[in-house]
């Protein structure tokens, strides 16, 4: 029971990571820097909780905010770089942060941060304060894990909702325009610098939040959690799930996380499958499993259902 709750919780965190890459990609920028922002968020949250005793509802957003603040100058500096160059520069950022985390004393070096206050444990202690017994016939630990899952699911839902709403607005149109044709977008009056840095910082914020969640879900984080492999993993979620609809990365995270739980014993087999999937998706279905066309069809159906008389006219 607790195991399934945990898997579902990690799917939610992965979904947030997928969305963080999706956001940046929605302005046509391929970033491998979000693993670095995740590291920033994770260590920030962990250290604030350990050293300063901040409550967890503050440490997680603080990690996200720090990541976003760092992302603004980084994004602006990388702005002139396109495609390949941007991917490599942001990978350089990630790798540099990993080396730094590996060497600083405060981050615990290669051993990482230990004894990070755990969200589930905290909740359990909190519930015991006023509940004699967990509801629904669950044990207190299971109930706490369920609440953890609900919190992470709510955060994923919130991030998803924000991205969908933003996507339907003037800002979202600017993102799509830049992604499609940056020159034409700027000729249409869009400040491409502003929107690219905006997307970069928003993605960093989500990655930072996910890092903070990760820190408080696992007791322990180390530099090895946030390197190239992590950067690629997030990218796989998007590539498999769908690169141009927000539901894509969430689906990708859910599918691949579930798959990796089945292959838990064989990490290398899991990565072989990840790799093969990336290759295959690019070759056969470059937009990913979910495409905007599917959602346009769904939208039309929904409109017809809501207004049966008007449906024919459209």
């Amino acid at each position: 029971m607790s195991y399934y709750l945990q898997v579902a919780t990690f799917i939610c965190v992965s979904g947030i990571l997928g969305l963080s890459v999706y956001l940046v990609l929605s302005t046509g920028q391929l970033t491998l820097g979000n693993a670095g922002f995740m590291l920033l968020g994770g260590y920030t949250a962990g250290l604030l909780a350990i050293k300063l005793g901040w409550p967890l509802w503050l440490t997680v957003p603080a990690g996200g905010l720090l990541a976003a603040v760092v992302a603004v100058p980084l994004g602006a500096a990388c702005l002139r770089l396109r495609g390949v160059y941007l991917a490599v520069a942001t990978l350089g950022f990630t790798q540099s942060l990993v080396v730094i985390a590996n060497n600083l004393t405060i981050t615990g070096g290669a051993l990482g941060l230990k004894d990070i206050p755990n969200l589930g444990t905290r909740l359990q202690r909190y519930f015991r304060g006023f509940l004699a017994e967990a509801p629904f016939g669950l044990t207190m630990a299971q109930f706490a894990n369920l609440v953890v899952l609900l919190i992470c699911a709510a955060l994923l839902g919130l991030a998803f909702w924000l991205i969908v709403r933003q996507g339907q607005s003037r800002v979202g149109r600017a993102f799509t325009a830049i992604r499609t044709d940056e020159v034409a977008a700027s000729a249409m009056g869009i400040n491409t610098t502003y929107y690219k840095v905006l997307a970069f910082a928003q993605g960093a914020f989500l990655a930072g939040v996910a890092g903070g969640l990760m820190a408080h879900l696992t007791y322990f984080i180390g530099p090895a959690d946030f390197g190239f492999s992590r950067a690629v993993e997030m990218l796989v979620f998007v590539v498999v799930g769908g690169t141009s609809v927000p539901a894509g990365p969430v689906l990708g995270a859910a599918l691949l996380r579930t798959l990796s739980e089945y292959l838990r014993e064989a990490k290398d087999l899991r990565l072989i499958i990840y790799g093969a999937l990336m290759l295959l998706m690019v070759l056969v279905r470059p937009q990913g499993l979910l495409t905007p066309g599917m959602f346009a069809g769904l939208g039309r159906w929904w409109q017809r259902r809501r207004a049966p008389g008007k449906g024919a006219a459209v």
């Binding site: 924000l162 709403r165 933003q166 339907q168 607005s169 003037r170 800002v171 979202g172 149109r173 600017a174 799509t176 325009a177 499609t180 044709d181 020159v183 034409a184 977008a185 700027s186 000729a187 249409m188 009056g189 869009i190 400040n191 491409t192 610098t193 905006l198 141009s244 905007p292 459209v314």
Partner: protein
Amino acid sequence: MSAPDRAQGGSHVHSLLRVQGLTRRFGGLTAVADVELAVEAGQIFGLIGPNGAGKTTCFNLITGLLPPSAGAVEFGGRSIVGLAPHRVTALGMARTFQNIRLFGAMTARENVLVGAHARLRAGVFGGIFRTPAVRREEAAARERAVRLLDLVGLGDAADLPAAGLPYGRQRRLEIARALATEPRLLCLDEPAAGMNESESRELMDLIRRIREQGMTVLLIEHDMHVVMNLCDRVAVLNFGQKIAEGSPAEIQANPAVIEAYLGRDDSAAD
């Protein structure tokens, strides 16, 4: 906005667009050399010349997509050299592209809404939470988008993806998108390219209607028929240099222009 300006047409001090000494070099090649242009408010101004004469480069320099190597560009009395393209657009200059550059996956309506970007205000917060002000703004913008699509004859295609439209309709959608930026000066890069005769006649009507709404039009065109019927004034580029300027009749009689086009049937080219 530009209707009063129009009354002053002819006065050089108030030219809507004034280009002086405009030069652009690529490595050793000079694509545009020392070009002078003065477009008066309310004009339809044609920029013609053989293939590779530097017309599109000229457009890119004027609209800020390329920085000039030398020269001045003044728009509405203000220097716009070095301004980012989106700032130039915000000042009231809009353009279309020779090799149509629509946002293919977006619908026609969305393309026009992108054009309206600089005239709308909704930010991240307003866009996400749809404040009353943003709702009003968006509704007005959508209504205006439909009007613009109607103007160019695409009223029936509002919800179709731009990439799926036939070529001639894509060209007209680009014009609608440019109009959505609410320009004073509309720059059209070969709007009639690839159109048949009836389509290009409709296009000429459209451009005249646009001018009647108070806009100034600067157009690059290959189709001599369109240029001669439409333009008030024409400048001719050859090898990056301006070799002639005048009324369509003057241009047709100009020996230098005939020389530049010698042996070519440019009304059929492209």
